[in-house]
Symmetry: C2
């Protein structure tokens, strides 16, 4: 025996969520159907709208339902600093650490030739054009301190080498092999202040 | 800083799911928006349809999108045995333990006067009418071995006392204070075989 076909389909579709196995999916389906249909309807509505309307900021590529995001339109941010991150979650972690007042550029990933992810897929043509505009004086390469993040930083450094811009990298206060989004604010903040010139060696 | 308003609303609405706190909701929202929009759209579609179409079986009250569920319509189940459970998840656990070939009745909860949940809210009028039809010879009271489950079993026993039907309760192989849905199949199976006459003392 199993649940009815539609309930089974619901449990299966809940497994699209990260960290959700069969038992958790069953508990979630039962909770929504037995105890919180109103909350379930709100989730359907909000997720539907978000999937339809949330796209990339035209200028920095972060997730937003606007054409240009609130950080890009803010007049209180420095145009001469540009921080390149792999994900909106990394960007949020840096914002929450405090202290950084420049702009951002979001890659949504890193170079990964084996997965067929090349420079255009992570917006590097757009990044180069942005820096070529001339306002940016320093690019902070805040990709993750992983093998892929390092390789991506090196690629970007080579790509921007002919442009008149300083490159820096977060100081290694951030633990090797870790993910920025899970680093505590104090460590991130110190890593930002201790950032070093990027040599691309 | 936070994410854009719509992304924040998505994270908030994901917290309707059991066991999902702020950090998990963020991870889920990022996963859906960054890496699996197709899976997200399937979830919207399936959850929407399930919330609209899945209701209670007219005969046993289990969750189903049909008018009457597959166990109630099956000709291979015994009409003289009726097992009363608190939830569809408990029913599934008993089915997966194997060995039981009777019918079911699903309460969707237990009596809880403090929460305003009375006999009609858990279908006890319908249960009495079902037993009064005369085909059922034994009612297995398989409510959870918790204070509320015990109280509900006693209430049902009193309600059915004037009818010509045997009452039994699962043997206490199931751990006190636990929830049926998490009991292993072997224990459940033994508890079923060792079920005792219910005295309602
Ligand atoms: Zn932007
Ligand atoms: Zn049924």
């Amino acid at each position: 025996m199993s649940f009815s076909p539609l309930v089974e389909r619901l449990m299966e579709s809940l497994r699209v969520l990260p960290g959700v196995g069969p038992k958790t999916a069953q508990r979630m389906a039962m909770h929504l159907l037995e105890r919180d249909r109103e909350g379930g309807r709100r989730l359907v509505e909000t997720l539907g709208v978000a999937l339809e309307q949330v796209g990339y900021c035209r200028r920095c590529r972060t997730l937003t339902e606007e054409d240009v995001c609130s950080i890009c339109t803010s007049v209180r941010r420095d145009d001469d600093l540009l921080c390149v991150v792999e994900s909106p979650a990394d960007q949020l972690a840096i914002e929450e650490a405090g202290g950084y007042r420049g702009r951002y550029f979001v890659l949504h990933g890193h170079l990964s030739p084996l997965d067929g992810i090349g420079p255009e897929d992570i917006g590097l043509d757009q990044l180069e054009a942005r820096v070529a505009e001339g306002a940016v004086e320093e690019v902070v390469l805040a990709t993750n301190p992983t093998v892929e993040g390092e390789a991506t930083a090196h690629y970007i450094a080579a790509q921007l080498s002919s442009l008149d811009v300083r490159l820096s990298r977060l100081a290694y206060g951030v633990p090797m092999g870790g993910e920025l989004e899970y680093v505590d604010g104090g460590t991130l903040s110190r890593a930002f202040n201790g950032r070093l010139p990027f040599r691309g060696e």
